[in-house]
Amino acid sequence: MKNPVMTASGTFGYGTEFLDFMDLSRIGGIIVKGTTLRERQGNPYPRMAETPSGMLNAVGLQNKGTQYFIEHIYPDIKDYDTSIFVNVSGSSIEEYVEIAEKINELDKIPGIELNISCPNVKEGGMAFGVSCPLASEVVKAVRKVYHKELMVKLSPNVTDVAEIARAVEYEGADSVSLINTLLGMAVNAKTRKPVLSTITGGLSGPAVKPIALRMVWQVANAVKIPVVGLGGIMNANDAIEFMLVGASAVQIGTASFIDPAISVKIVEGINAYLDENGFVSAREIVGAMEV
């Protein structure tokens, strides 16, 4: 990757939506929308609730499926001058494996992000990410068939995130990314009904940043593989904080909804910080927090 700034899955579409606003070649990577084996319609509307300094979503992995991605989306995005990762989500281990095998065939996709942490689907998703044995099993199975960069996206909805991180590292994950959204909910007092059709949803935005930072720090101290930090990063300073606690790279999520060009601004901001503080490379600030 040319720099440590990526865009988070489910917040940046396939990159094409952002072409009017920024030059995709300026960012380190794009993690495209969660891809499942078959097409998914996602959850019914309403799927979003604005909350203090954040938002809840319950999209539920709406996408057209792996084959559609390969035939209709991949040809349009494969020549972007940035690293494109596919976020892979399954409802069973067999499904994860099948998708990974198919994506493995795509030359211009250097890696996948294994989504074992989506809180908005009934089957699979987060279930794999909140149990050490299941997380191990799915990573082990995918590792056998997937030969490029295998990043595993972890759920914050666990008691001990470091334990899960160690388990997936042991099974051969090349890196971990965290955090996916925190399970939350919103209620409308006027109608006395839940705001989301699914009642609960995933919380993102600056509201979750302190929790994300803490978890990234815990995981960075627990594993040797690179850690990719995300959760409420709104500006370069937030991204630098994640790197200082041990993230080798960061992902920008909800912030892109508010400023579609924010990821490039964060690249520039990190570079300015490195220059101002006499660092030659972003690697020098990874884990550089002094306690």
Binding site: G10, G13, G42, Y45, M48, T51, S53, I258
Partner: protein, 258 residues
């Protein structure tokens, strides 16, 4: 159409009544092209309460003055802040977003633009556009009371205006879908925007009478550019984003419970 992120400057904030303001905005350079029915994602102030942008219909483009108008109904923290903007304040907007209305196939088509509440906003711009292209428009506007009827003087520049109020203080008494003009269903095109129950009633009327009908939806949104998939509506083609596949949909495509 190319989308822009621009800081526009408030030229005027016209208080229309107790609940509505009209913001007139301009830019140092010529405003980008906007089609009728398109909207903007407006940055309120990014405070914790108004974290996300607000999707707001573009009410009108005054090309001579290089002005873009937004009709704002004060409903919550975000719109309250927008309503308090003053001349010279800046507003960060992403636009133009979304699709546009279908242009009627024949010049002598009988057209109704049916709106209610803040939903009249895109109909003004479309009405003016149709008027300039030589179409004759019938604006049908419903409101609770006389004071809730918005921009009637503007609408009357571009066509015939018919109103209903629930309390009978202006036009016919009742809902706009009960207006006597609809007793003879000889419209060729109906375009509607307003509260969902009103649009559903209009949609039912159009479908029962075989009239071409498009509705402009206003689902809650996060990104406005089709990347978050939050604002979907259920259609015959599955869940579609209102921000990119809409906001304007042919009503036969919508799986509304009508």
């Amino acid at each position: 159409m190319k989308k822009f992120i621009l800081d526009l400057t408030v030229v005027d904030n016209v208080r229309l009544n107790y609940q509505y303001v009209l913001l007139k905005l301009t830019h140092s350079e010529k405003l980008p092209p906007v089609l009728p029915g398109q909207f903007a994602e407006v940055r309120v102030d990014g405070s914790s309460e108004t974290f996300l942008r607000r999707p707001i219909s573009i009410n009108f483009i005054d090309t001579l003055r290089n002005e873009l108008w937004l009709l704002i109904q004060v409903v919550g923290a975000g719109t309250r802040q927008l309503a308090s903007l003053r001349q010279g304040d800046m507003l960060n907007m992403i636009f133009p977003l979304g699709n546009t209305f279908t242009v009627p196939a024949v010049k002598n088509a009988k057209i109704a633009l049916i709106g209610g509440g803040v939903g009249v906003a895109p109909l003004l711009m479309y009405g003016e556009w149709l008027y300039r292209k030589g179409f004759e428009c019938n604006f049908m506007i419903g409101a609770r009371s006389r004071e809730d009827l918005l921009q009637l003087d503007e609408f009357s520049k571009y066509g015939h205006v018919f109103t209903t109020t629930e309390d009978g203080t202006h036009g016919e008494k009742g809902y706009i879908t009960q207006h006597s003009l609809l007793n003879t269903p000889d419209f060729d095109y109906i375009f509607t925007c307003g509260p969902t129950p009103m649009m559903k009633a209009v949609s039912r009327y159009a479908q029962e009478n075989g009239i071409f009908c498009e509705a402009s939806l206003e689902n809650t949104m996060a990104c406005g550019i089709g990347s978050c998939l939050c604002c979907v509506t259920d259609t015959t083609e599955g869940n579609l984003c209102v921000c990119t596949e809409g906001p304007i949909f042919n009503v036969t495509k919508l799986k509304w419970q009508i």
